[in-house]
């Protein structure tokens, strides 16, 4: 008795339905990406809050100013392109930092793992949205739009560089403090502050 064809037939119809909806879901994904980013960022922020009870008083002497870029702290609504690039840079750099914390920090492992999963999800979907935008640019034949995109790209590159330097300062701080407990607590507080400003950017984008 051959049950495989029956199984295939049973799964064929749901698979077709899923296949029909995937392109639509992916096409909607980039348009609603800021909503997903908002929710994911807020969840990461709350996880960072839960990873430690309170800040150790002895670590107050080792605090450092990491100088979050002013563009991130701005109250003006950002452009979609800039927002996506900033999120991508933040997700990539924060993921690298948390990757170091898996073996060197005293944080709760389950919270740490959830944060890493969310950051990885952010990077993956942002990359797909960038690919779709690149395909759209190749199909476009308007030179004026290309010129405008070039200037916009310059601005976004500068902002990404500033953001990257910001995370490098945190990374270097950890190395200098030899991944001490206080250093991790200080980095945890700083990342919580950073995530909040990115969360606020998603709200500003909706307002725009």
């Amino acid at each position: 008795m051959n049950t495989k064809p029956d199984v295939i037939q049973k799964c064929l119809w749901p698979a077709c339905l899923v296949g029909l909806f995937i392109p639509g879901a992916l096409s909607l994904h980039c348009n609603l990406l800021h909503l997903h980013l908002r929710e994911v960022t807020w969840q990461n922020l709350r996880l960072l809050n839960s990873m430690s009870n309170s800040f150790p008083v002895e670590c107050l002497r080792e605090t450092r100013a990491f100088e979050l870029p002013q563009d991130i702290q701005s109250h003006t609504p950002p452009g979609k392109r800039y927002l996506k690039e900033a999120f991508y840079e933040m997700s990539t750099q924060a993921f690298n930092i948390f990757r170091e914390s898996t073996t060197k920090s005293t944080w709760k492992k389950k919270y740490l793992k959830q944060i890493q999963i969310r950051l990885d999800w952010q990077m993956h979907h942002l990359e797909k949205c960038f690919e779709e935008e690149e395909k759209g640019k190749e199909d476009s034949k308007q030179m004026e739009e290309d010129g405008m995109d070039f200037s916009g790209a310059m601005v976004s590159q500068v902002s990404s560089l500033e953001l990257r330097r910001y995370f490098y300062r945190m990374y270097n701080f950890l190395k200098d403090k030899k991944y001490s407990h206080c250093a991790w607590e200080i980095i945890r507080v700083e990342l919580r502050r950073c995530f909040y400003y990115f969360y606020k950017l998603t709200l500003l984008l909706r307002k725009k």
Binding site: N53, S54, F55, E58, T63, A65, L203
Partner: protein, 519 residues
Amino acid sequence: MLWSQNTSWIRPRDLYPVVYIGLMVGVVSAWPDLSDESCTLKVTFRSFRLILSWELKNHSIAPTHYTLWYTVMSKPDDMKIVEHCSNITASFCDLTDVWEVLPETYIPRVDGFRGNTMLVSCISDFFLATHVSLEPPDFDIVGSTNHINVIVKFPPVIPKILNGEILQHYLPLVIEEQSGKIVKKHHPKLNGNIIGNVTYVIDKLIPNTNYCVSVYFKSKVMGAINRSPVKCTFLQPGQETESSESAKIGGIIVMFLIAAVFISTILILKRVGYICLRNDFPKVLNFNNLSSWVFLERPPLETVAFVEVIHVNRKKKVWDYNYDDESDSNEEVAPPVSGGGYTMHGLTGRLLGPASASSATLEDCIQPDAEEPDQSEPEADTERLMAAWPSPEQSECCKSGAYKERGRLPQDPVSEDDDSFTEESGDKITFNVNLNSVFVRIPDDDSEVPPTSPSFLEETANLEDSDETEISFLAASGEGTQPPFASPSAECPWPEDALSDKSDSSESDADIRDGYIMR
């Protein structure tokens, strides 16, 4: 068991690092966290003011005054003293104008003193975006017939820490309306710049119902939700509101417009001639003589043309299809006798128009010599005539023959069979009167001109020669018309003898035309 020679001896100096590490771990674990057990610090918003409050866990320690210090995590600065919260006796401090950045991590420290001795020191950290709790705002409610005004009290100036998008995105205001077991939530939209109180109207409520309202800020950022105390109001029924008054005014205006459109349509149709409005109303709708209509009085005499029929005692003859001569019979009842010896039969013709001026009288036709009261036979068909004559004012657009016919003598078919044939139709009574046996008189007191009736003379002449004929007769009309049989006083062309000898069988040579019998 013997140790082998290759066993490395654990020397005491190798244990030193182990001991040291153990001691350090113990010391580090013994170091207090910022969440000190000696006191509990709490940050909240009260009436949009950021308040830091503290409470000692050990109540036996009672400091006399407190001093507040703080620092921030983002800047490697030393502790700063809060000037207006230095050496205070209260166990709270207003930091609205001190802590102005929401995503910042603030680290406050409270030192409790008794005199110059510090009894307790409390320190903690607050990430305001997630740690602060928001108390509900103050509000008032004003209930009306079907709506409630909820007045949420905001400060004249919103604190900087709540400015911008905080109130719009992080602190959505929720107004709960509860009636019985039904709870409804309202989400008024707050803009970024809120100045003063905010009024929200809960409408579409049921009068004569009790409603309770609660207000709070709902935000996942600010922590748990604190609902305000409930305030209730009872909506009074039947109160006039501005909306109901405006609705009434609007309804009145609409009705007025509809009536105006309807009246204008009727007038236009009347002008065009599409519709005809009758002016000659039926008698029951004649309100000209309202008093008589109300009291059901008889119309005045001047509106009625009386016709006095002078009955000549003549035997009634019924033709029984027998051409033989028959004697007259005296079976009819003798009519009432007037003072002049005549048999009077009043024929009342009701005139719709003024008829007094033109109503002619036939009194002059009465010959006082006629003395046959007892033996005169009243015509059986002589009855009180109630003829309704139409008003001379004819309708403008209605010139139908029906009206004309009403203005004329009603057609009474000449019947050889029965000269007492009476036909009653509507408001008029037609009857046959043998002119050969009667004198007709229309009383008219005001008339000085004796009515002329050339036709009367003509008929008299005809009657002398012709047989008794039967004609239909009606009372004289109103204005402008002369009774066909009206005659001046001195000219009564109806000799009685001539009339009495006439038979009543032969057909007259009267020409019946349009209801009139012309001679």
